[in-house]
């Protein structure tokens, strides 16, 4: 019984020559696994990069809008200030002309 068992073990564990192309198949499988793992990493990196780019774009757009709004409000302020100054100087001219046209006058024409 024990001899049979020993024999069976020997038969099972006897060195067996690999089939032809076994090494190539193993190497190909390993390479495939590696490339699959690499492509998984690449996919994750791509997703992370795309997400970062989208986030940066959203942030950039928001920043641009904030800056644009600041510029717009500043431009509006300047426009109103410019119109105020223009009106003020036109008023000075108008008042001077008005004073000149109705005596007594305190505007001295210097050849004008």
């Amino acid at each position: 019984m024990s001899k049979d068992f020993e024999q069976q073990l020997r038969d099972v564990l006897r060195p067996v020559e690999p089939e032809e192309g076994f090494e190539q198949r193993v190497m190909a499988r390993i390479a495939g696994e590696r490339s699959r793992a690499r492509s998984k990493v690449t996919r994750w990196v791509s997703v992370a990069l795309a997400a970062s780019a989208a986030f940066a774009a959203i942030l950039g757009t928001h920043e641009w809008q904030v800056r644009r709004e600041e510029q717009g409000l500043e431009a509006r302020k300047q426009l109103i200030e410019a119109l105020r100054l223009t009106g003020e100087k036109l008023d000075v001219a108008y008042q001077a002309v008005n004073r000149e046209s109705s005596p007594p006058t305190d505007v001295d024409g210097s050849g004008a």
């Binding site: 300047q78 426009l79 223009t86 003020e88 036109l90 001219a93 046209s101 210097s110």
Partner: protein, 188 residues
């Protein structure tokens, strides 16, 4: 001469002109006034090119009457440039710089509409318009006093009637041109 000035000012108030000229026309070359900012007690430097004017217009609320009036007033305007300096002492600014702007206004097309020389107040105000093909394509105001000077250059077609509508808003003084004009007409 008085009548000429008065009528000129009324004409200025009634100017409602349009133009297809480029922004560069009517734009004065304003000096840098480099060192003046340190000497001045108050500085106003406004440079509104067509892009900035457009941007400013977008921030005027059409629902607000005063903003709508400003929007209307700047239709046709392609640029507004203002340099205004106030000082704590007399003639701290180089009058040559101001004169250099005045010189530019001797170029063909520019016409002096109003000239005010007040010895008592030592105040000079000159108002010029750029007339091209019978159309006003620019406005220049040079106002100087011993302690301040202001140069205003508006490029493009200027609808003074619309500008007039802004009086009393945003601190823009009331010119009361029409009322005074009516009074003058009544006097006559």
């Amino acid at each position: 001469m008085n009548a000429f000035i008065k009528h000129s000012l009324i004409l200025l108030g009634a100017l409602s002109l349009c133009t297809s000229a480029t922004a560069a026309e009517g734009q004065l070359k304003l000096p840098e006034f480099g060192g003046l900012a340190d000497k001045a007690s108050e500085v106003v430097t406004i440079t509104l090119d067509p892009a900035l004017l457009g941007l400013a217009a977008r921030f005027l609320d059409p629902a607000k009457p005063e903003d709508a009036a400003v929007r209307e007033a700047i239709v046709g305007i392609k640029g507004i440039y203002v340099r205004s300096y106030k000082f704590d002492e007399d003639f701290a600014y180089p009058r040559a710089d101001v004169d250099s702007v005045r010189k530019q206004l001797t170029a063909p097309g520019w016409q002096r509409l109003v000239e005010v020389r007040s010895r008592k107040q030592q105040q000079n105000v000159d108002i010029y318009i750029l007339v091209e093909q019978e159309r006003a394509n620019g406005l220049a105001i040079i106002a100087s006093q011993p302690r301040e000077f202001t140069i205003v250059n508006i490029v493009g077609s200027i609808d003074m009637r619309k500008l007039h509508e802004l009086e009393g808003q945003f601190g823009i003084p009331k010119l009361e041109l029409e009322q005074k004009n009516e009074k003058n007409e009544q006097k006559k």
